[in-house]
């Protein structure tokens, strides 16, 4: 069942869609600086609950990036990442509530424990692929709240741990309010982890991950340790989700499992963020997480409306925007560029006769043709 993924079929990530080789990508720099400025300025402008919502976007984006590393880049489908998220959340909550740790110190522990569970699941994943792997991870996500309920006691048999307000407070109360502190911490960790992911995917290891996704047999013949790459991807991906879970305790001040499906629903949320943002892209998970939180906030009062819309958009995206928001943007950018190129003297036209401006753009790009054999 070694099929290539249709979604995110590009082989190189971060393909500089608009920029040309050799020139400074001014557009990207400007967008980056503006985005950074806005991100730093937001919590000074918005009230506490809005800042908290942004922080939720960040930790969801981290979890989505984790899933993206595994599913988008490595081709292993998981619908159980909520369990890794939960391991992170409960690890942090237990250490903070029962053992008096500082929550910041629990984040690495959460990451390590989640990664350990990731390795445990990663090994059967070597033999079980595709939809069957999804099935196993589904079981993991459904099982997790039960197992937690066995070890964590809470009111009404529902596991629930709540750090005190002071335990998730700002370290520099004079400088930053609690909500601002949490926001900046989540932002900083997210930026670090996203840069890490971006660099990883440009490295030898990252190319090995993609090679395993696209052609396992071919990857192994050129010397990629397929089993090692797969298990490592699982561990890394789980660690990201664990960090996200840990941060969720910081932001929401609770780790709980109100119903048996909580963590399965979380898993679906991560998948939504990845797929709608754009699988196998770096910015996709963040955009997807923002979309997810926006929909959830917008329909907060009406219980079932948000899942109905999210489910609908999840299906819709497969039909109309198979490579997500980021992929759609790239295709658009390429199309715009292709129509502009003939009038651009800096780049000679690719073929001798420059195509007419209204010529349908058929560049030999791997994204616009999501049907690799």
């Amino acid at each position: 069942m070694a099929q290539p993924t249709a979604i995110g079929a590009e082989t190189a990530i971060g393909t500089p869609a608009p920029g040309r080789a050799g020139t400074v990508p001014w557009l990207r720099i400007v967008v980056g600086v503006v985005a950074a400025g806005i991100a730093l300025w937001l919590p000074t402008y918005y009230p506490e609950d809005t800042t908290t919502v942004f922080a939720q976007v960040f930790y969801l984006a981290i979890a989505a990036m984790g899933l993206n590393l595994l599913t988008g880049f490595n081709g292993q489908v998981s619908i159980g990442h909520g369990a890794f998220f939960g391991v992170g959340a409960f690890t942090s909550a237990i250490l903070v509530v029962d053992h008096g740790w500082a929550i910041e110190a629990t984040i690495p522990v959460a990451a390590v424990l989640a990664a350990a569970l990731g390795v445990v699941i990663g090994f059967p994943a070597l033999r079980v692929k595709g939809l069957y792997l999804a099935l196993i991870t589904l079981g993991l996500a459904v099982l997790f709240p039960r197992v937690t309920a066995k070890f964590v006691e809470g009111p009404g048999g529902v596991p629930l741990l709540q750090p005190k307000r002071g335990q998730v407070a700002s370290y520099y109360p004079d400088l930053l309010a609690d909500d601002q502190y949490r926001y900046y911490l989540c932002l900083a960790i997210m930026v670090v982890l996203f840069v890490l992911a971006s660099n990883l995917m440009r490295s030898r290891a990252g190319r090995a991950m993609i090679a395993v996704r696209d052609q396992e047999v071919a990857a192994s013949t050129v010397g990629v340790n397929v089993a090692g790459v797969k298990v490592a991807s699982f561990a890394l991906s789980a660690a990201y989700a664990g960090v996200a879970g840990s941060l969720s305790v910081l932001v929401d001040r609770v780790a709980d499992a109100p119903n048996p499906l909580t963590y399965f629903q979380r898993s679906i949320e991560f998948l939504i963020a990845v797929v709608i943002g754009g699988a196998a892209t770096i910015t996709g998970p963040l955009l997807g997480a923002a979309f997810l939180v926006f929909i959830r906030k917008r329909f907060e009062g009406t219980e079932a409306m948000a899942p109905a819309l999210l489910g609908g958009s999840l299906m819709l995206v497969v039909y109309v925007l198979p490579d997500g928001i980021v992929g759609g943007y790239r295709r658009l950018a390429r199309r715009v560029l292709a129509s502009r190129r003939p009038s651009d003297p800096a780049t000679p036209p690719p073929s001798s006769g420059s195509p007419p401006p209204d010529h349908p753009p058929t560049p030999p790009d791997p994204v616009a043709d999501p049907s690799p054999s």
């Binding site: 069942m1 070694a2 099929q3 290539p4 993924t5 249709a6 979604i7 599913t71 081709g75 489908v77 619908i79 059967p124 033999r127 079980v128 692929k129 595709g130 939809l131 069957y132 999804a134 099935l135 196993i136 589904l138 079981g139 993991l140 459904v142 099982l143 039960r146 197992v147 309920a149 066995k150 047999v217 119903n259 048996p260 499906l261 399965f264 679906i268 998948l271 797929v275 699988a279 219980e303 079932a304 409306m305 948000a306 899942p307 109905a308 999210l310 489910g311 609908g312 958009s313 999840l314 299906m315 995206v317 497969v318 039909y319 198979p322």
Partner: protein
């Protein structure tokens, strides 16, 4: 009961087995619908439980709002589900069929999972309503030997389902075409079978079986809500994995085994108290690792 007082241990065991058969029949039904879809379209439908839930709500609606007797309501729901299943295949599933990527299948079925569950709550559960009550189909109480009437009734329903399915698949031209498409879509196409229609029929058949399973599951509980089928789905997947994803017989046997195993675990294994869900999970894991084609499934030879 008094005559069994001396052998209450044996009686308890027997009761638990019968209890397991009662739930096992429901798992078997859902597993059967999973298998039908797997055989025709080659995909694991993670939304099957939620589709069954929606059908269950339809049964409830016919029985409660329209005042039909419960059996008539169930039959009406079966008819609606048949059409609904066909429509869903045609509109939503067709684009991802034969897709090389498992991710697309997962996405669409999970999207369906979320959307159908949410729609069911939006449409059928009035604000403030906690749980709905499904009228009983079979009378409460024991038939004989401490076996509940409902257990026997459920088993009878399953037997009828299997019989109808067997007749359809083995004795009709439509069934022959369905089996042809399941075993080799390309050759089926070459001999003039409209494979598209057959895939649609596969979904159309699966939905009513789910409808029956959901409605029966609802009658077993004092009240049901939108989470009715979510756990059942995990058990049904375990049953289908155990029996082999392409074997209807396997689904039935698997469902009964899973149901009985679950019931005995709850009774006798204190260490797993509250986490009986470990049983289907481990079952899925072990079967997929050790014998991926299950007890009754065909070995799939993959050509590279």
């Amino acid at each position: 009961m008094m005559i069994f007082a001396a052998t209450s241990g044996a009686q308890l065991f027997f009761d638990q087995v019968m209890n397991g058969v009662g739930t096992g029949v429901i798992y078997a039904s859902v597993a059967l619908s999973l298998v039908l879809i797997y055989r025709t379209t080659g995909l694991l439908n993670f939304a099957q439980g939620e589709l069954a839930l929606f059908s269950t709500f339809i049964t409830y609606w016919f029985a409660h709002e329209q005042g039909l007797p419960i059996v008539a309501a169930l039959l009406a729901s079966v008819a609606v589900s048949f059409v609904g299943g066909a429509l869903i295949e045609r509109v939503l599933i067709r684009p991802v069929e034969g897709a090389s990527s498992p991710l697309n299948v997962v996405i669409v079925t999970l999207g369906l999972f979320l959307a159908v569950n949410a729609l069911a709550s939006l449409i059928f559960i009035k604000p403030g309503q906690e749980a709905l009550q499904m009228p009983r189909i079979f009378p409460t109480g024991d038939l004989a030997l401490g076996i509940r009437t409902s257990t026997v009734g459920f088993a009878a329903v399953l037997v009828i389902e299997c019989l109808l399915l067997y007749l359809l698949l083995q004795k009709t031209k439509l069934g022959l075409a369905l089996r042809a498409v399941a075993s080799n879509p390309e050759s089926a196409k070459l001999v003039g079978i409209n494979t598209g229609t057959m895939l649609m029929v596969g979904w159309a058949l699966a939905a009513p079986i789910g409808a029956v399973a959901g409605s029966l599951a609802a009658t077993r509980q004092s009240g049901f809500d939108a989470s009715l089928m979510q756990q059942v789905l995990v058990y049904a997947f375990a049953a289908a994995a155990l029996g082999g994803f392409d074997s209807p017989l396997g689904a039935v046997v698997g469902g009964l085994i899973v149901g009985i195993a679950d019931s005995l675990t709850i009774q006798y294994v204190d260490a797993l108290d509250g986490i009986e869900l470990v049983v289907p999970f481990v079952l899925i894991l072990v079967v997929l690792l050790v014998r991926p084609n299950g007890l009754f499934g065909r070995t799939i030879v993959e050509r590279v």
